[in-house]
């Protein structure tokens, strides 16, 4: 098969570029554990309010300072609407839905996950910047989709914003 010399050059360049992209992805996922939220856990969407995992949504802080936030998503609100966490310490979010698909996105952060009825989404984020963050639903969930929002307040360690 005859291939023009410039074209050969281009093919090697393209191949090299793709290898570089994939290498960047693999190395960050292995070395820095950069991975998309991929928690595997199921739950009955009809008994969320009585299920001990989700019956008391809100923030709990463990002895080591790590925080867990349990959020129930439903048309068209997040429960709780306002979340307070401490800056600089890992926050593990646990989410599920009582009805349709929702999205849970904390604007200006890496927190962005689908919320699916029947499943529990879980991921961990650390917020270094204190302040107020907007939480939006980013998966179409009905006519009130655009009003489904929440608030995250990141407080400086030691109290106060």
């Amino acid at each position: 098969m005859k291939v023009h010399v410039y074209e050969k050059f281009w093919m090697w360049l393209s191949g090299g570029l793709i290898v570089a992209f994939v290498a960047a992805i693999v190395s960050t996922s292995v070395v820095q554990a950069v991975q998309p939220p991929s928690h595997i856990e199921t739950i009955d969407p009809t008994t969320i309010r009585t299920d001990p995992r989700f019956s008391t949504p809100g923030v709990t802080t463990a002895a080591d300072g790590s925080q867990q936030v349990v959020v129930v998503s439903q048309m068209f609100a997040f429960v709780p609407m306002e979340i307070r966490v401490t800056a600089g310490r890992p926050v593990t979010f646990r989410l599920t839905s009582t009805d349709v698909l929702h999205g849970f996105q904390i604007v200006r952060s890496n927190a962005n996950s689908m919320v699916v009825p029947g499943y529990v989404s879980q991921f961990t984020v650390t917020f270094d910047e204190p302040g107020e963050y907007l939480i939006v639903c980013n998966e179409f969930c009905g006519l009130g989709h655009h009003i489904m929002q929440g608030k995250l307040i990141v407080e400086e360690a030691g109290g106060g914003v």
Binding site: M1, K2, V3, H4, Y6, E7, W10, M11, S14, L17, I18, F21, V22, I25, V26, T28, S29, V34, Q35, P36, P37, S38, H39, I40, E41, T42, I43, P45, T46, M75, D99, V100, L101, G103, Q105, V107, N110, N112, S113, M114, V116, P117, G118, Y119, V120, S121, Q122, L134, V136, N138, E139, F140, C141, G142, L143, G144, H145, H146, I147, Q149
Partner: protein, 540 residues
Amino acid sequence: MTNRYRLSLAHFTVAVLAFFGGACMAVMQALSRANLPLPLRSAKIYYLSMTAHGVLMALVFTTFFIMGLGYVFARTTLGHDRVNERVGWVSFWIALGGTLLTAGAILSGSSTVLYTFYPPLQAHPTFYIGAALLVVGSWVWCWIMIQSYRSWRREHADEAIPLAMHGMLATVIVWILATVGIAIEVVVMLIPWSLGITRTIDPVLARTFFWWFGHPLVYFWLLPAYAVWYAVLPHVAGGKLFSDRLARVVFVLFILFSTPVGLHHQFSDPGISASWKLVHTFATFTILFPSLLTAFTIIASLEVAGRMRGGKGLFGWIGSLPWGNPLVSCVILAMVTFAVGGWGGAINAAYGMNAMVHNTAWVQGHFHLTVGTASALTFMGTSYWLLPRLTGRALFFKPAAQVQPYLWVIGMVLFGIVNHVTGLMGMPRRIYDPSYAGSLVAAGWAEWTTISAVGGVIVFVSAMMYVLVMVGTVLWGDRVEAPAIEYARPLEPEEPLPSVWDRVGMWTVVAAALVVIAYAYPILSLISMERFGSPGFKPF
């Protein structure tokens, strides 16, 4: 004498009508997103029209256009009597019937589930049944394409497949592999559930089948465009195809790697392991390769054309290309836009970076530059080239056809870039009102959405010019002797010989094996878990 292209023209008519409907919905949405006070503006109409826009543009316009183009390619490259016209009409009416059922369900307000129709949002059963019929119609078309090719092959055993048809066969195979996923989702899961035969549905399993289909769908849109870039553009531009062989390599790579990639749309889904998402990421990046090859071959072919037309110097050939020819300008602009959109796609597919852009306005910015420009603008250029050849009428109001592609790109770039930017700023996609109860962050998006609305209006004007030229040509175009439909010759003087890259049957088997490898384990592990299904919801 009846027109031998009646079947294709019927398909193009449906495509242009769907495009017209989709464009009217689109301008309404662009203005609404900018929070402009419009009469009748409401969330209900916004989300309904968004469903209609997605279905009409992404599924109806594209599918009918591609089927019509397939018949033209098959007739002109394989021979007019090889296409089974009668079965073709059966396919047409099934697909059209399905389209009308689905469109009716959407317009009645009972099926505002958007064109991704993720359960447990539940549409009216006719929405799903209509969509299934559209796919069944397209399968009959696939059968006709394959039969036409096999009949030609029996008498031309020692010839390479005509290149345009090679690209169309790749399209057909990608479509067959892809639609297995959607058929399982719609027929096994959604239709029984919407009829009340089954009570609940697993949303993650449904999404997995959807994206088995949803990503190769984009190559179903792209491959016919590539076939035009390779097999038509160099000739119309006045030159030759730089490399016939590499074009075939490109089409085969798409057959192989279009489908085992869908999990990159489910990066942030629970229930699917990160390692399988990573496997699909590899296949996704592999498929950048044939597009990079295409960029080289097409630009090299354009350089050949520019020089054959007398262009001199390092860049002089660019100026001597026929920029006033609407096919040439459409394709070049489509390619340049695709270069930008493609990089955005690599970011979407980047396992780690996806969380920055998932379900934000970035996504609609991305696909309006790719399918909305790379494919759609190529299809418009193709129709300017084809219509006089199919109808024996000169283009009506040709200046509109010459200006329209430039307007399209200006509008789409405004719309697309703004949505990329607001997406990075965190604005979600698919929202009726971006103000979020006076949130300060959201206020920062507002000035940008106004620019995207301006872009949307420019695209709409361009879309109406296209529709005007199409309708005008058929009804009032001057009668001329139909120019011949001719394809690009390769630059190498010798005829292309059949090679391993022409063995589409063999590549199809390999591709099917790759689909099994990519999906067997993720689907088996999903269905072997203890899962709790969801009943349907209709919050619209």
